[in-house]
Structures are given as C-alpha cells and as structure tokens.
C-alpha cells in the first residue's frame, strides 16, 4: 500500500495543501482495500477532509472529521506505512483542541491566521526496501 504510486501521490497532495485531491486519492485506495489497512486509509481520508473543511471555514465539520481521523489512526503503530503516525495524530489533536480554545478566546479572528498556524505535513519516509532514499 505505502509504496503504491497512488499512496505517494496522496501524501504529496496533502503536503502541498491540496487537501481535496488528497482525500480523493486516499479514498480510491480505501475503496479497494480489503485488509486491516482499510481503517488506516479511512483515517487519512478523514484527516484530509478535516483539513479541507478547515481551510474552507467549515470549523464544525473540520473538528468532527479530525476527531474521527484521530480515533482511527491511533489504533496503529507510531510508524505505519512509512508514515510518522504519532506526529500526525499529535498535530491533529493540537489542531482540534487549540482551535477550540482559540475560537473561545477569539485570539485568532481570521481564517488565514488560523490556517497558517495549524497547517502541517504528513511525514513520509521515502525509502525503498534497502534503506536507500528514493529520488
């Protein structure tokens, strides 16, 4: 899964902040997946959708998706499918809780400030089976 072109493409789309396309790409793999990895993929779909809703100003939808994403991703190892899951989950949790706090205290008034503060990347280890870095 993690070495498929589609998976790498999805991660790149996420890291390029093209969250809608990332959700689409992860979803394509998720649909056909018949293993335990299906839940992990859905977690990444929901992470992407959560970020898409965030930059679109749909805060309620964003928070719900990020919570569902965290619930799924947390079931997997700290590093899974070459992804630093611990980092992703930590960032998503921070986003959920701090965003709520910021909204309550009105510290961040503009969407631009909010998204700039909270956007993060998926750390993906681009290595082949022999430990060499891919180009």
């Amino acid at each position: 899964m993690e070495e498929s072109k589609q998976f790498v493409k999805a991660v790149d789309q996420f890291n390029n902040r093209d969250f809608f396309s990332a959700h689409d790409s992860f979803e394509e793999i998720w649909i056909d997946c018949r293993t335990y990895e299906k839940e992990f993929l859905q977690g990444l779909v929901q992470l992407s959708v959560g970020m898409f809703h965030l930059i679109s100003g749909n805060f309620k939808g964003s928070a719900s998706q990020l919570r569902k994403s965290v619930e799924k991703l947390e079931k997997f190892h700290r590093e899974f499918a070459k992804i630093d899951v611990f980092y992703v989950v930590s960032k998503a949790k921070t986003l959920i809780f701090e965003r709520e706090d910021f909204q309550k205290t009105d510290k961040i008034k503009s969407l631009q400030k909010l998204t700039t503060h909270f956007i993060f990347s998926i750390k993906y280890q681009k290595e082949n089976h022999y430990g060499d870095k891919d180009n």
């Binding site: 779909v45 929901q46 959708v49 809703h53 309620k60 939808g61």
Partner: protein
Amino acid sequence: MAIKITEECINCGACEPECPNTAIYEGGANWKFGDKTYGEADTSPDGNSGFFSNDFFYIVPDKCTECKGFHDEPQCAAVCPVDCCVPDTDRVEDEVTLLARKEKLDQIGR
C-alpha cells in the same frame, strides 16, 4: 429514524447512487416525491422541514427507510468515506413505520 448527512460531507456523491429510495439529493437540487417536485422552501408531505441543504448532499426524510426492506444496513452510511451519514435523532422511527414507508413508496413511486 431517518438518516441525515452532516456538515462533514465532502460532496463526493458516493451515497447518492446507493440509495434504493432515491432519497438523496445534491446540495441545492430540488427533490421529487411521487410526481411532484419540491424546493428549499417547501415543507414535505409528511410535514418535515429543515433537511434541505444548499451546501451538502441531503436526505429527504419522507423517502428514507434506512434501507429497510432492501438491505441490512443503510447503504449511504456503508459507502460514506467520512462517516457523515448518521441517524437523525430528531426523527426517530421504528421498523414498522419504516417498512410502511417502503410500501408507500412502492405504490406512489420514488
């Protein structure tokens, strides 16, 4: 109870073709019941309102049977990648009611 689509929807459209009752419509689109067409401001024949959405796919409660009589589980929820097709707690209905709705839809059309 009927199923509703929350604001988490990403508008992927995966749910729409799965509904055996054609109860799901794209945001902003008019909906049909029998031989009539309804819009945003209309109250449904069963007296439901507030379900229409301009932003996301939405489900018409009058046409939702939770897939009773067709499948073991609501198909919209089964295919939704973001888990945003959820039971509408404001519209709780028992199985007898849902099956009666299916019968009605069988007769008047979907």
